[in-house]
Structure formats: C-alpha cells, structure tokens
C-alpha cells in the first residue's frame, strides 16, 4: 500500500512568489497534518484536519498561509507571498483518528527554498 505522497519534493522560488504543496494521505486515514521542519529542528504543527474540518490551525500564519482538504482526502498547503523565512521542509502526515496512541505516517516532505 502506498504511503503518504507529497509533491513537489523540491521547490525553489523567489520571495513574494506563491507556492503550493500537495499531499495525498494513506487511504482510510481521516486525520491529516501539515508540519514545518526548519533545519536542525523538530516538526512544528501548522494545521490538523479531522476529515475535511480544520480542528487545529492555531499555528498557521493566516496572513500568508492557507490550506484546504476538499472531500476529506487530499490536501493543499499554499503560501502567498513567500518570505525568506519560509524556507523549510513542509511535511504532511496522516493517522487514524481513534482514541489513544496514534502513529503518524509522514511523507518525504516538500523542501522549499525562498531566494
């Protein structure tokens, strides 16, 4: 079975340009997460979806970041306009939504470089 699929793997843009990342979670996983991982740091949550509802977007910089998860499956994360400080790896993860321990399944990430 395919894991979490993300695209593009790498993106280089100039500041003030828009960029979008796409994520296809593992089939049957109702919960989808977008994390940002800066160099030498752990993943930091940007937004969490339960099905198509964003249930935790408190860390999403809403002035320039937006996300959507139509039909509760695929998700897109957009940055417009990008700033130099947005250079990072954007990780998508999915999990089941049962109570108790959850295992996060991560994609390989989308590495963004803003020049």
């Amino acid at each position: 079975e395919a894991g979490v699929v993300q695209s593009p793997r790498y993106k280089i843009i100039e500041k003030k340009q828009p960029v979008a990342f796409w994520c296809n979670p593992i089939s049957g996983h109702n919960t989808l997460y977008w994390y940002r991982q800066n160099l030498g740091q752990g993943p930091e949550l940007l937004i969490r979806y339960e099905n198509e509802e964003a249930v935790d977007d408190s860390q999403l910089p809403k002035d320039r970041f937006s996300a959507e998860r139509l039909k509760g499956v695929d998700s897109t994360l957009k940055i417009q306009p990008a700033e130099l400080g947005d250079s990072a790896v954007y990780l998508c993860a999915s999990s089941t939504n049962g109570a108790g321990a959850r295992e996060l399944f991560f994609g390989e990430g989308s590495r963004l470089t803003v020049l």
Binding site: G40, G42, P43, L45, D56, G100, R102, L104, G109
Partner: protein, 111 residues
C-alpha cells in the same frame, strides 16, 4: 520553556557502541511517548512508542519513560552504521491527537 527539550548532538559513536538518547518535558499531561527516526531527506518514521511509565524493548532498541522525572530515553545496543539518522522524541496527551516533538539528535555510527 519549550514543552520538549532534546540535546541536538551531534553524536558520533563507533560501530557496536551503546547509544543513549534523551528528552525531558514539562507537561504532566503527556501519556504517550514516541521515538521517530529520520534519515536524511526523508520523513520521520515511528521507531517505538511507550504508554505512561516503564520500559519497552524491541530488538536492539529500548525505550524508557520516567514520568516522575519527566525524562525519557532511547537506548540502542550494538549500534550499526544503518542507525545513522536523526532521532526525534515526541509526546502526546491521552487524547493522542496533538504531538510535541523534540529538536532531534543527529547520530552517526562509524564503521
């Protein structure tokens, strides 16, 4: 103060050595404790998880949780070059839907 603190390393050991990786945390509500392994330019993958206090062993890996000290550890016995990666600790509360990650410890095992 961050919710989870982890020594970033880097850590370099000879093949066959015992490796100890550690994290401390501040939130008493954490109930699930996880270790993720992240190879270069890959996403993290779950290595082990422990519920509440105690030890858990899986092959060469042992996870320990001491809730009274708010301290967790991962031990790797007979380390191999293939263990070279960044190890991230992560924690969540009983609801299990919010994860807090450490900064990761970079480990290199030298043949």
């Amino acid at each position: 103060q961050k919710e989870v603190e982890q020594d970033p390393g880097p850590l370099s050991v000879p093949e066959g050595a015992i490796v100890s990786l550690n994290c401390t945390y501040s939130n008493s509500a954490f109930q699930y404790f996880m270790w993720y392994r992240q190879y270069s330019r890959k996403g993290p993958e779950l290595l082990m998880y422990t519920y509440s206090s105690g030890n858990k062993e899986d092959g060469r890996f042992t996870a320990q949780v001491d809730k009274s000290s708010k301290y967790i550890s991962l031990f790797i016995r007979d380390s191999q070059p293939s263990d070279s990666a960044t190890y991230l600790c992560a924690m969540s509360s009983a609801t299990g839907n919010q994860f807090y990650f450490g900064t990761g410890t970079s480990l290199t095992v030298i043949p």
